[in-house]
């Protein structure tokens, strides 16, 4: 009897002890949403980077003789302009590729800016507590009570809008997610033993925050960063759509949709193509962010 048990136990596969990192990689490999988001985002980034090589035309070169040519899959379309041409005869595929660059740059820079602002505020509030927390929580509440689209539009209208100003506006408006997450995560970690130890060792404050606290906020902040980047890209497109974001002739996807809007009734593909591109980019980033949240937080699954 006992022999049987021993042999049974011996036949069991060796229990695998995974390091947290290995376990995370394993979870990532099994998370279809995460993989899908990764593939989507990486392909769009590669296409954007390769735009100067693969774009068949100059995105701002006008050709008034071949205006509003439909895409290749329409009867009247041809392979010369796979996605057709816009109302000024510019090649739509080339504009789309360069538009990807624009969306990614704006989303990324706005996310970095808002990340710096929000994380700084959140960490200060969470780490010091007391009055600092009270004041910063008040600032966050105030920021959350302001209509983002309306304020972004008003400022863009008064400042005059350009690429730099759009990035600045988005970065200065979208930091609330970072601040909220950084604050609550810092409060949870504030009295962790390794932070107490670091304080006891007499480590300077900036080192504690930079090298002990921030690395432990990284996972949750990356999740916020992806979601805020998607948010910034959508908002940029909306601003450009309303004519107060990126200015023509830059090939912003929002702007392309706005320009195609006048041909809505007869050439619906003009808004369909940049819209689908925008949708795919934002969805990839969102899937990546949701996936990261599932993968990095052990109890979030």
């Amino acid at each position: 009897m006992s022999e049987k048990i021993t042999s049974f136990v011996n036949d069991l596969p060796e229990p695998q002890l995974l390091s947290p990192r290995q376990a995370m990689v394993l979870r990532a490999r099994n998370h279809s949403g995460f993989l899908l988001g990764c593939i989507g985002l990486i392909s769009i980034i590669l296409l954007a980077l390769a735009a100067p090589i693969i774009a068949p035309f100059d995105p701002s070169k006008q050709d008034l003789l071949s205006r509003l040519q439909p895409p290749a899959w329409y009867e009247a379309g041809d392979m010369g302009h796979i996605f057709g041409t816009d109302q000024l005869g510019r090649d739509y595929l080339s504009r789309l590729l360069y538009g990807a660059q624009l969306s990614l740059i704006i989303g990324f820079l706005a996310m970095i800016l808002s990340g710096i602002i929000g994380t700084t505020l959140g960490v200060i509030a969470g780490y010091f507590g007391g009055w600092a927390d009270l004041i910063i929580t008040f600032i966050i509440t105030t920021r959350l009570s302001m209509p983002v689209v309306l304020i972004a539009l008003s400022i863009a209208a008064i400042f005059g809008s350009s690429l730099q100003i759009v990035i600045l506006i988005l970065g200065l408006l979208l930091w609330d997610g970072f601040a909220v997450v950084a604050r609550s995560a810092t409060i949870q970690l504030r009295d962790a033993e390794y932070l107490v130890a670091a304080r006891a060792l007499g480590m300077p404050l900036w080192r504690i925050i930079l090298f002990e606290l921030l690395p432990n906020l990284r996972d949750s902040l990356i999740v916020v960063a992806t979601l805020e980047m998607a948010h910034a890209i959508l908002l940029e497109a909306a601003l450009s759509f309303l004519g107060l974001g990126v200015q023509p002739p830059l090939p912003s996807w929002g702007l392309m949709i706005a320009e195609g809007k006048d041909y809505l009734f007869f050439e619906p593909w003009l808004i369909m193509i940049p819209g689908v591109a925008l949708f795919l980019l934002v969805m990839s980033i969102n899937l990546l962010g949701d996936g990261l949240r599932d993968i990095t937080s052990p109890d979030g699954r």
């Binding site: 509440t141 009570s145 689209v149 309306l150 008003s154 400042f159 809007k261 369909m272 949701d290």
Partner: protein
């Protein structure tokens, strides 16, 4: 309870004051309003005239206090573009936006809560996955593009709905779908997670054990607790809808406050823009307050802590 309510009201008041100061400073500091109002090609004398006429030459703090005190009395000045009092313009346009916001909220709740409940009752089922897919799609769908696609489908391919105007309730169908769909994912996710949590709790197991009907358990015991956070989320979402209606109204040419904001922004009509930003912010603050108070009223635990 009274202390809690008073504290919350006091905080809301402070936030409202701070929001009004910030929006004022932002709109003023962003550029010289006199230059913007004078338009392109205006002479130096014209700009100077406008500056004195509208009091832009006074210190900012005086301008702010002056603007705030008359705003509190309902006087937002005169629109520089429409040349009528701003308060009249807003009173005329606000009902349309409120109607749209309310319809969208109802649309979102009617769509989202049953889906969320079903997804929680049958986790990992087809319904759950479909609901999740719907919310992922919804969050990635640019609302202005979704609006245009609806126009393509329902006004161009099958012309059954009017693409613009606000003469009857039919005009509200598409804007309601766009705005409402935007709020659906978050309401659905919250319903689902709240419901999942409640269904795992001890008192539901007790209710099952003593043989209550599943319907009774679902609606009388589980839903009432799961729906709590959804109530306050809905009030906040309502605020977002009012803010987001600027894009939707300008696409569907609905004469609400969003379109008014859009018109006045593109015409540098500063008094109107300022008034709209202030009013929308105040509505946000009010809705947040309402959400918190409703929550406290529904859930005694919040009041105490």
């Amino acid at each position: 309870m009274y202390v809690f309510v008073l504290k919350r009201i006091g905080l809301a008041f402070l936030v409202a004051l701070f929001v009004s100061l910030i929006t004022f400073l932002m709109l003023r500091a962003a550029g010289d309003p006199a230059i913007a109002m004078a338009g392109e090609g205006a002479s130096e004398a014209d700009i100077e005239f406008i500056r004195v006429q509208f009091g832009f030459d006074r210190p900012l703090i005086t301008q702010y206090l002056d603007w705030l005190s008359s705003a509190l009395l309902g006087d937002f000045g005169t629109s520089t573009y429409f040349t009528t009092p701003v308060s009249e313009l807003i009173a005329e346009r606000l009902p349309v936006t409120l109607k749209l916001g309310l319809a969208s909220l109802i649309f979102a709740i009617v769509l989202a809560t049953p889906l969320g409940i079903l997804a929680a009752v049958y986790p990992n089922s087809i319904i759950d996955r479909a609901a999740l897919a719907l919310s992922v799609l919804g969050q990635a769908l640019p609302n202005f593009w979704f609006a245009l696609m609806l126009i393509v489908v329902f006004s161009v391919m099958w012309p059954i709905l009017p693409p613009s105007g606000n003469s009857s309730w039919i005009n509200f169908i598409m804007p309601t779908m766009v705005l409402g769909y935007y709020a659906t994912p978050s309401i659905m996710r919250l319903t689902r997670s709240g419901m999942l949590e409640v269904l795992r709790s001890d008192y539901i197991r007790t209710a099952r054990a003593k043989g209550l009907l599943p319907v009774q358990i679902m609606f009388k015991h589980a839903l009432r607790n799961a729906i709590l956070p959804v109530v306050s989320l809905s009030t906040v979402q309502f605020g977002y809808m009012l803010g987001g209606s600027i894009i939707i109204e300008s696409i569907f040419a609905l004469h609400g406050i969003g379109q008014l904001a859009w018109e006045s922004i593109s015409r540098a009509d500063l008094p109107t823009v300022q008034a709209i930003v202030l009013i929308i912010s105040l509505i946000y603050v009010g809705l947040n307050l309402a959400g918190d108070l409703i929550n406290a009223w529904l859930d005694p635990r919040i009041r105490v802590s």
